[in-house]
Symmetry: C2
Subunit: 219 residues, 2 copies
């Protein structure tokens, strides 16, 4: 029996994109279902009753929630393709640590850049750059975060790249000026089809952010 | 060469206790080093420069940080003993999901119970019980969260049990009255030496919480 794989997602979500990149890396065919986050589907509420959030990967009827958990699940189920996580326990722990760091620090800092003004926005920009510089330190001179090949931590971070133009335009600053090696890494990742075909166009994300600002009365 | 294993920890930390229970389950000998959290050691700051938090497991000189990542690391390195995580990818994802849920919801709710008063404390109690009831639903009629044997998700949650008496006394409520099956599970876990020898006495934790309340001027 063929696997039935469904992804409940929202196009502009960095978290949803992680699941999509992982599935593309593994060559898994799946049905993509776009959610209206202001009017969530009964299936989403049924499959993720705890958080009621996308992405949710439904594999043969069983839901897997939370983007980093989904990426690990995809890596563990579709083992015929190259692994996304390193095999060494220490390197695995290290990848998990930095992916968790991204979730704890980068999203909130990014949100402050587009959703606030004045001092709070300045603080957000400073925080965002500090977090990226720490990640740049972890990258070092390696082509990818886990070494020679694209993997788990690359997936955890690269999806934020689709929002960089929106952050830069809202915050009037240049990420590349501050973190040139990280941008070189991002461009390297974008040469991979799994990434370039998944990440939305930067202008679309910017338009989406402008719409959100309008909705929040922040124009 | 024998492994050198050092744990930087603080006795009352539910997060630190997770590492200790995992190491005990695997029968790993290690050097325990108590940290003074108001005056952190140079080693802690060097080994976890990002978060500067305990627990840190230092294995042959290399640091692993964040308690759930430590437990997974211990499980992956010391493979001769029974695994802590299930082998099935879906069950692994499920364990990771609920452990992450505990980290996102239970700690903050618990903190509100002892560190706030009035309405905020009441909200904390309500939240705490709701979170435990969701976990009780996940436990169902199984002896342990992952089935017949004590594992990853049991470790993630049981360490909070050492704080239940403090929560109950500060909040003037009974957790057992609300979640009897969860308390039965906790008592079952306490029959394991890895747990009973790790978790501190409830009165010691309560005294510690009273000390914290005093420090925050909350008597």
């Amino acid at each position: 029996m063929a696997d039935e794989v469904i992804l409940l997602d929202f196009w502009a979500s960095m978290f949803g994109m992680r699941a999509r990149v992982a599935l593309a890396e593994k060559g898994v065919k799946y049905e993509y279902r776009e959610e209206d986050l202001r009017n969530k589907s009964p299936l989403l509420l049924q499959m993720n009753p705890v958080h009621k959030k996308i992405p949710v990967l439904i594999h043969n009827g069983k839901p897997v929630c939370e983007s980093l958990i989904i990426v690990q699940y995809v890596d563990e189920v579709w083992r015929d393709k190259d692994p996304l996580l390193p095999s060494d326990p220490y390197l695995r722990a290290r990848s998990r640590f930095w992916a968790d760091f991204i979730d704890k620090k980068l999203y909130d800092a990014g949100r402050k850049i587009w959703a606030t003004k004045g001092e709070e926005q300045e603080a957000g920009k400073k925080e965002f750059i500090e977090v990226l510089k720490q990640l740049e330190g972890e990258l070092g001179n390696k082509p990818y975060f886990e070494g020679e090949s694209f993997g788990f931590l690359d997936i955890a971070l690269i999806t934020f790249y689709s929002w960089f133009y929106a952050f830069e335009t809202c915050g009037n600053f240049s990420i590349e000026a501050e973190c040139p090696k990280l941008i070189a890494w991002a461009k390297r990742c974008m040469q991979k089809e799994s990434v370039s075909k998944t990440l939305p166009d930067k202008n679309m994300v910017y338009e989406f952010v402008l719409g959100m600002k309008k909705m929040f009365g922040m124009e």
